[in-house]
Symmetry: C2
């Protein structure tokens, strides 16, 4: 007679129900190779924040990193944290903001059915979370930038997303919420990670690199008891007495996985992530029974705002129509092209708006002395682009864009040959993309199974989880904000302190 | 010391790795309540085909249906099977078709990265599969319909999808491939299911209704050993000596699940499925460690082709632009509105094209003596709709539609007040939708985990699986074709005969 392995009570009074794969039972004579109260996989921002909080809660912590160096994708970018509702930096700079405005923007300006509970909590605790980052040693400079994009002047507060775009600006008063370490260029991520890793060390967290999580180890009571890890010395079984936190990142670097789960995102040319973004943490959790919603979603960024003069042009689809304001935030443009325009788009400029031919973002796709010539060269429908330009020019001359509400600053009629078309298609342009899908989690980072039940001993954060960020990405700093904030919560919960 | 429960070897030579949830181990004194070689959950088309093949392979089969009556969603519709490449019915009617044309249409006319292996196999074996359906007692009438939509005249062969739409018609020579039982109206599904259920009975399959699968039962060797089922008498543990086939349908009726996994599809007004389409089979497999790709995808159908005269009008989005030929197949229009136009669209007609005000599909959203008045009433951008109508009319007068290639039959200038706008938005119109996402399967219906490994003893088919049908749905009959064809393969494999 077969032995039944049940998991949890499904319905009260229905008796023991079985679920979830297991077996064969491996009675290992030698026991565990390593042990800690909390084992965190992945030493990016989410993992470091989890490790810090778990250690501060009194747990012993092992932080295992797949790559030879800690930092993850978080360490590679500008290190923007999206924060608001009156952070210390906002207040110091006299910036008005409140929780409701931040929540209205995040909940209404993006896609349908966003995760409201996570967004609300994040907005409410955002000022305190920013204080916490400062307390960890991340430094910010009291200066506000009004310019587009990450400040080049080492200001630490800026508009990092779509707050001033239409229709977002109609939902909530825009406020600058991009908080970036006060450094030039894209070294903010490295600075953020340096600070977090310093805290990790100070707190006695045992950080080990070149150790790759392979599979979760389940105990006979259904609890996640540890993880099997590949190391130079072979396979190690690592015990997590209180909990495992998965913070292994997304899966943009694992192309077959992107094709399977996110077929549209697969067409974007430039995987944007650390070398470790291979979906391992997601696969480990899914193999153990976790749900993984919204795996198709991603952040696809089209950096049209590289050149101000070009933004007077028309961004058009394969039908020769505009579909979004050309000065929209890059995450919105990239999403529209990738998910709504089947990956195909061109920026059409006149002579005054032409990009340098040697710039690195977009190939020149066509050049002609007439709009009709551009139309023909691109294979657009006869007359369609001419029609779009005529309509656009009629209103642009008056500083208006009734269709997509581009800012006045970028509105002028497109006229004066030669005209140029620049390929902004996902597969041809510089089009960085990362994944937003991951395992289902509750507010404390607890991993949820298909029935919405928490899986004992298992937590996830950052892009390993389906977090508060859903597509389209509304601002730079949301992914890192989610990773740090919910990473902290996962660490506390795993330590049993939540 | 904790007991390790491993699952399968991950990498040769790395030793035993653990995976997937289990526990607590329930040593049930009384053993199994019911047993068979193969247990099939869900008695729709996929489940019946699986049961038939398993029984013909010599296995004893239990077929358990959640509802009080067998038939599933398959029994509710017209019962179209998409088949081609030279089926007996196509040949009898002198219809030219071949495997490559069918494959070219299915693989190129839809979304990016479709499941090519499943599509290829389906196309190659389509004539034989059709013969099998006939051999089961499904009857077809040797008559071809050229009309749009399911034949009203009881013809059994028709164009059931987008084969004649642009750009599909440029990829492959169109052929009629909708095979529908020779009956009037939408009773074909009932006829199909009657035939399959008759075979189920003839073959001695033990069909039991009002038995709802709750959780899979895992054996200690990692194999799926059975299923826990709710019945009137309480919870039963049902042993599957060779395999479990999950064919419980999709999840369109479980609205919270649709919101979580398919936020865009959630906005469609009319769940189109049986009462049993609650995602139970998907959840059972996911809880056991199955992967579930493309859960966001669905078939959303906008039945614009209800009225021929109205198709001369313009289908426009919130920017006042056309985005697809108005005479496109309903699955393509529904997909474009739901997934690419954020759920919002209107059909604008002149007096000659106006729908009856009392028709049931679309509400009248605006009426005016000018296009500008329609624009204003709908809140469309100033001048945008006028612009679209002017461009459209210019070419329509010559029988051309350079932008979206609508058929000549529906092309004429839209002119003559009053003009009307009909709400075709997902949430306001008749907009039936069903889910296409499900658990990952191989070509024999074996369920795959996050690593692409087959889960021993577990199979899935129909909308319980992520099958050969991905979004956009290209034709009526693809879902049922997938369910019957891959259902058969799952049944054979579960019986150990594949």
């Amino acid at each position: 007679m077969a032995e039944h392995i049940g998991r949890r009570q499904l319905l009260a009074g229905m008796g023991a129900l079985a679920a979830a794969a297991s077996a064969p039972v491996m009675a290992r004579a030698q026991g565990w190779d390593l042990a800690a109260d909390v084992v965190v996989l992945g030493a990016g921002a989410a993992g470091c924040c989890a490790a810090i909080e778990a250690a501060q809660s009194g747990a012993s912590v092992l932080l295992l990193e797949h790559l030879a160096q800690a930092g993850g994708a978080s360490g590679l970018g500008p290190g923007v944290i999206y924060a608001g509702g009156g952070t210390a930096l906002q207040r110091a700079l006299g910036v008005a903001d409140d929780t409701d405005a931040m929540f209205a923007f995040l909940s209404r300006a993006g896609g349908p059915n966003p995760p409201l509970d996570k967004l609300r909590l994040y907005c409410e605790e955002s000022p305190a979370h920013f204080d916490w980052l400062v307390a960890q040693g991340v430094t910010y400079r009291e200066a506000l930038s009004e310019a587009r994009g990450t400040p080049a002047d080492s200001a630490s507060l800026f508009f990092s997303g779509a707050e001033r775009d239409w229709p977002a600006r109609d939902f909530a008063a825009p406020a600058p919420r991009g908080h970036v370490p006060g450094l030039s260029g894209t070294t903010g991520g490295a600075a953020l990670m340096r600070a977090l890793l310093r805290r990790v060390a100070e707190l006695g967290v045992d950080l080990r690199t070149s150790m790759r999580g392979e599979r979760l180890v389940m105990l006979s009571d259904g609890r996640v008891g540890g993880v099997a890890v590949s190391a130079a010395s072979g396979l190690l079984h690592v015990q997590a007495r209180r909990g495992v936190v998965l913070s292994c990142g997304g899966f943009i670097q694992e192309r077959a996985m992107v094709r399977r789960y996110a077929p549209r995102l697969h067409e974007c040319a430039t995987p944007w992530g650390g070398a470790g973004d291979l979906g391992m943490g997601i696969n480990m959790a899914v193999a153990a029974g976790a749900a993984a919603p919204r795996m198709d979603e991603g952040a696809a960024m089209s950096r049209l705002d590289a050149s101000g003069a070009a933004l007077a042009g028309l961004l058009v689809n394969a039908a020769g129509q505009r579909f979004i304001a050309e000065d929209s935030w890059e995450g919105l443009i990239g999403h529209a092209i990738t998910y709504e325009q089947r990956g195909r788009a061109w920026l059409v400029t006149d002579q005054a708006g032409a990009l340098p031919e040697t710039q690195q973002d977009f190939e020149l796709a066509a050049r002609s002395n007439t709009i009709g010539g551009i139309e023909e060269a691109l294979g657009l429908p006869r007359g369609a682009l001419q029609q779009s330009v005529a309509y656009y020019n009629r209103y642009a001359g008056r500083g208006e864009d009734p269709q997509f509400r581009k800012s006045r600053a970028f509105l002028r009629p497109v006229q004066g040959p030669p005209y140029s078309a620049w390929a902004v298609s996902g597969e041809r342009a510089f089009f960085p993309a990362f994944t937003l899908g991951g395992v289902a989690t509750g507010l404390s980072g607890e991993v949820l199974d298909a029935y919405g039940e928490a899986m004992p001993g298992l937590y996830a954060a950052g892009r390993n989880a389906s977090g508060m960020v859903s597509a389209p990405l509304l601002a730079s700093g949301l992914s890192l904000g989610d990773a740090t904030f919910f990473g902290r919560r996962a660490g506390r919960a795993a330590a049993g302190a939540a």
